[in-house]
């Protein structure tokens, strides 16, 4: 326990770094992913093609490579000077752009789970496009999207550690700071693992709770 209580400042700042990456990256992924997901199910062939290309390319790119491009290749291109804030922003963008593909696929498959007959019945009743969406399609799609979306966010939480390789402070970088302070690295990493198992268990519990609450009665 001493390794935590003696270095409380370090643990709290790194935990905060992980949470910032998680929340900001998650928000960016949600916004971008919803846009791409909408493009992939849209009636516009060009938009569908662009969405498919984006998803297929980024999904087959290692996250480390995305980070690498954002941390090393982008700053000289845009003439950025690497300060702490710029590194953090770039890391959030890398996480968001990578995770957005998974968000988009989750939304797309969620919409595909709604039977076509549902929307056809709603149109036959004379509902407008907005009513069909808000009253019939999206409520059903939302429920089947929640559990896989939580899995995407659990993966995002674990992926935040990759930022440690690109000088952004988070739980993954606790090890190097603690070894500078002469602490036992092995114990430090084991504690990081414990924190992650706890955080993932928390998210899994939320996933189960939401799943039970929003279960589709079929």
């Amino acid at each position: 326990m001493g390794i935590i209580t003696d270095n409380l400042d370090l643990w709290s700042s790194t935990l905060l770094g992980t949470l910032v990456l998680f929340v900001a990256g998650g928000l960016l992924a949600l916004v971008l992913g919803t846009m791409v997901g909408a493009m992939r199910v849209s009636p516009i062939p060009v938009a569908r093609a662009v969405g498919t290309f984006y998803v297929n390319t980024i999904r087959n790119t290692p996250l480390t490579l995305v980070f690498f491009a954002f941390a090393f290749a982008l700053p000289p291109l845009l003439g950025l000077r690497l300060t702490g804030d710029v590194s953090l922003t770039l890391a959030i963008c890398a996480l968001g752009i990578y995770t957005a593909t998974y968000v988009a696929e989750t939304i797309r498959s969620g919409i595909n789970t709604v039977p076509v007959g549902q929307a056809e019945a709603a149109r036959a009743l004379g509902l407008t496009f907005g009513q069909v969406m808000t009253l019939v399609v999206l409520p059903q799609a939302f429920r089947s999207v929640i559990p896989p979306m939580m899995s995407v966010f659990i993966a995002l939480l674990k992926n935040t550690t990759v930022a440690a390789g690109f000088s952004v402070v988070n739980l993954g970088s606790v090890r190097s700071y603690l070894s500078e302070r002469g602490e036992n690295q092995f114990i430090a990493i084991v504690w990081v693992m414990v924190v992650f198992v706890a955080l993932v268990l928390l998210l899994s519990w939320a996933q189960r709770a939401l799943e039970n609450r929003w279960k589709v009665a079929r």
Partner: protein, 300 residues
């Protein structure tokens, strides 16, 4: 085409979709134009930036780095499959004293980020007097994580099978091990093949994490060549080259996964088509079709 989201478009919707299509094209072109302008403006298209890639030695090093990436992937994939089967069978065991601990191990391994596990092996274990090459740290971490994920996949595959399958196995006098080996696992693996290959794509992608613990794979070499000032620090060209190699490798593996999935779906349909017995379909022919000796289309 009618979908759950929109009806067959009328004249006004067609016109609106055209406008939206043009806007999409313009946005994409603007984005591409911006990237090309930045590449041009910072001189990334100049010959000296790409000078490094005219030396055969550089390409030899890139080939060697690709080999190291693939070596880590190959060993990790085989190990992960082996560990996955072992853990899956352990989790499906009838004995609570085996099922419980293995379930806990699988959950913990799945919850720990792969990179943190690599840190534990590469930076943590030397404290206890165990040193290993970065290669083994990468491989063991990937085996542990992907093995536990595959264990869950295989377990889900076995549990999705109808109960009658194992009951039939027991009824003809097979033991537990034989039911698992001869009846349940072959069907579960077949059903889960696309997911298993998709997980292997994840394994290939995660070998790039080795860069962070100084395993000399592709990204490591890109960083090295990108910081050589004799070549004019070509970090952007190096990222483009290495990124293209990584994406190509992953796309090939994903392509295989898609092909396997499509093939499985096709054969699954063939099995269903047998069920409604028509005039030309005698019982003997139905059996022959199921055994793959005859085609399901009635012969004229």
């Amino acid at each position: 085409m009618s979908s759950v989201l929109y009806d067959v478009p009328g004249p006004r919707a067609i016109a609106r979709n055209r406008i939206l299509g043009v806007i999409t094209v313009l946005v994409v072109l603007a984005l591409l134009g911006f990237i090309v302008w930045r590449l041009w403006d910072t001189g990334q298209f100049s010959a000296e930036k790409w000078d490094a890639f005219t030396y055969s030695n550089v390409w030899l090093q890139i080939a060697l780095a690709t080999g190291r990436t693939l070596a880590a992937f190959g060993v990790a994939a085989v190990g992960a499959l082996a560990l996955g089967f072992a853990l899956a069978i352990g989790r499906l065991s009838d004995h609570p004293w085996l099922r419980g601990p293995i379930g806990a191990v699988v959950e913990v391994l799945r919850a720990v980020p792969v990179l943190v596990f690599m840190f534990l092996l590469y930076y943590g274990l030397p404290v206890l007097g165990i040193r290993m090459e970065p290669f083994w740290a990468v491989v063991i971490a990937l085996v542990a994580y992907n093995g536990s994920v595959l264990a869950e996949v295989i377990r889900a595959g076995v549990e999705s099978l109808p109960k009658g399958q194992s009951e039939a196995g027991y009824a003809i006098g097979l033991r537990k091990a034989a039911v698992m080996r001869l009846v349940l696992l072959p069907q579960a693996i077949r059903a889960m093949m696309p997911v298993i290959i998709a997980q292997l794509v994840v394994t290939l992608k995660d070998t790039a994490l080795g860069y962070i613990i100084t395993y000399q794979e592709l990204l490591f070499y890109a960083r090295y060549i990108g910081s050589q000032s004799t070549y004019g620090s070509p970090i952007v060209p190096a990222t483009i080259v290495v990124g293209a190699i990584y994406i190509a490798l992953c796309l090939i593996l994903s392509f295989v996964a898609n092909r396997v999935e499509r093939r499985l779906r096709r054969t699954a349909k063939l099995g269903k088509g047998v069920a409604p017995v028509d005039d030309a379909m005698t019982a003997t022919r139905a059996v022959a079709v199921q055994a793959g000796l005859d085609d399901p289309e009635p012969r004229r």
